[in-house]
Amino acid sequence: MVGEAMSVALESFNVEAAREDFPILKELVHGKKLVFLDSGASAQKPRAVIDAMCHVMEAQYANVHRGLHYMSEKTSDAYEAVRGKVAAFINAASQDEIVFTRNATESINLIAYTWGRSALKPGDAVAVSEMEHHANLVPWQMLRDAHGTELRIVKITDSGEIDFDSLEQVFADGKVKLLSITHMSNVLGTYTPAERLAKFAHERGAKILLDGSQAIVHRAVDVQAIDADFYVFSGHKLYGPTGIGVLYAKREILEDMPPFMGGGDMIASVTYEKSTWAKPPFRFEAGTPAIIETIGLGAAIDYVNAIGLPAIAAHERMLTEHALATLGNLEGLKILGRAQDRGGVISFVMDGVHAHDIATLLDRQGIAVRAGHHCAEPLMGRLGVTSTARATFALYTTLEEIDALAKGLQRIRQIFA
């Protein structure tokens, strides 16, 4: 978004008003105002989400599906309505393409266990990039070791973007049947060019899986425009509860996928000899689902929609630009990654100061950042570091908080000088 549209979006968004929606932002930490810059790990929850979950438990709860009584009917309706909300949120063609899981990690594992072991043959290859979260690497290693598929790595450039030459090479022999790639790096903040990657994969007879765990929070996603075969994300990073994640897959792919877990709700009929499976999405949701959390996710999507992703994106772009400028000026501090298209995830290292010390010392000033390998160990190797500190921005992040971070980092530098 640029120019006029962006300023309109910005004007209509009042961060101070939005902060009022998040009770936790009033908390003190070590006697200091909480400056929460770890939303990329998990976001805080607005009142609307908390209230929606309380409401279910206080006034409208029973197990879903097949309860022939009022509480069950109402709860089932509320639960299934969220499927529609999620479908609309990512512009899926049908709500039957939305499978509820625990988190993005389970979504990817589900694909690896079911589609991976049925649609892929030993010798077929899965390609991932150098900047994947372990959630989009380890399941493919496990598939490799159990099923005989190959795992290939697409390189990134020094700026932290997909290296298309490497991509060409990885696909050259025609063995790659799945490109599984992050839509936004949780370390470098890089957005990957999803539509271009999808076209690239499809032209070569491969499917594409996008790990939208980070991307979904910051920009509007349109799975049909991207032409994604699979898209996954978690509720808890999208201001929703823990315990609920999403797997989107095209209907015809889901239809052909065998089930993942067996149990109640995922069957059509059961005899000792043979069970037949329910249609998607139910085939993939065995047992009592995360009812309360799903309804909480629905409230989170309503909340984000009410503010509007364009407004959120504009606000976060402003924050990111400010942060890159401010932190970029600090002596001895190095920001990792400088992709053209990037969002509010900033990793950095400081000369002579370990990332863990940065995190603990910032914490004493009330500032929460993450430090470590961010579940992306191989990427650390690529970047030549063992760990980084990372600040991530949310809709409730302010310019003042970024200034506080900069000041805090300066102080740390003095301590270790």
């Binding site: 599906h65 309860g67 009022y70 069950s72 009917e73 089932s76 309706d77 059509a268 009929s269």
Partner: protein
């Protein structure tokens, strides 16, 4: 939600008018809901749309099958298709439709989404039968 067990429903469940397998028919179709064990088989005679059925299930399904057999008598396949559509709308929205006559007795189902399939199962079976005619 209004009462899905109107007197007419209970009456037709207890004393059906079109139940039983006819000696002659042109096509049949069936429906089953393994979740509750509901099962229905619908028999169609081409001559002027004459419908019978065998049902093993709840009162809603039994009565729905019987009222359906009433409603489609003498209709063309196109008219039946139209009725089927209108009936689905009736049981999902609860909005009565005077063209549906006695079928409106099932409007009370609308609040019970898990029971709607009981009412529509005979209609799916009929559609299957007509497909075979």
């Amino acid at each position: 939600m209004s009462n899905p067990y109107q007197a007419l429903i209970v009456e037709r469940h207890k004393h059906p008018l079109h139940a039983g397998r006819p000696t002659q028919f042109d096509a049949q179709g069936q429906g089953a809901n393994p979740i509750c064990g509901d099962a229905v088989r619908v028999y169609v005679s081409r001559a002027g749309m004459d419908v019978h059925y065998e049902a093993e299930g709840c009162a809603i399904m039994n009565a729905s099958a019987d009222l359906m057999a009433d409603a489609v008598e003498g209709k063309t396949p196109e008219q039946v298709e139209r009725l089927h559509r209108d009936f689905e709308k009736l049981v999902t929205t609860g909005e009565e439709n005077h063209e549906l006559g006695e079928l409106n007795a099932l409007a009370g189902l609308a609040g019970y989404s898990s029971r709607i399939r009981c009412a529509t199962l005979p209609w799916s079976a009929l559609a299957e039968a007509l497909h075979h005619v």
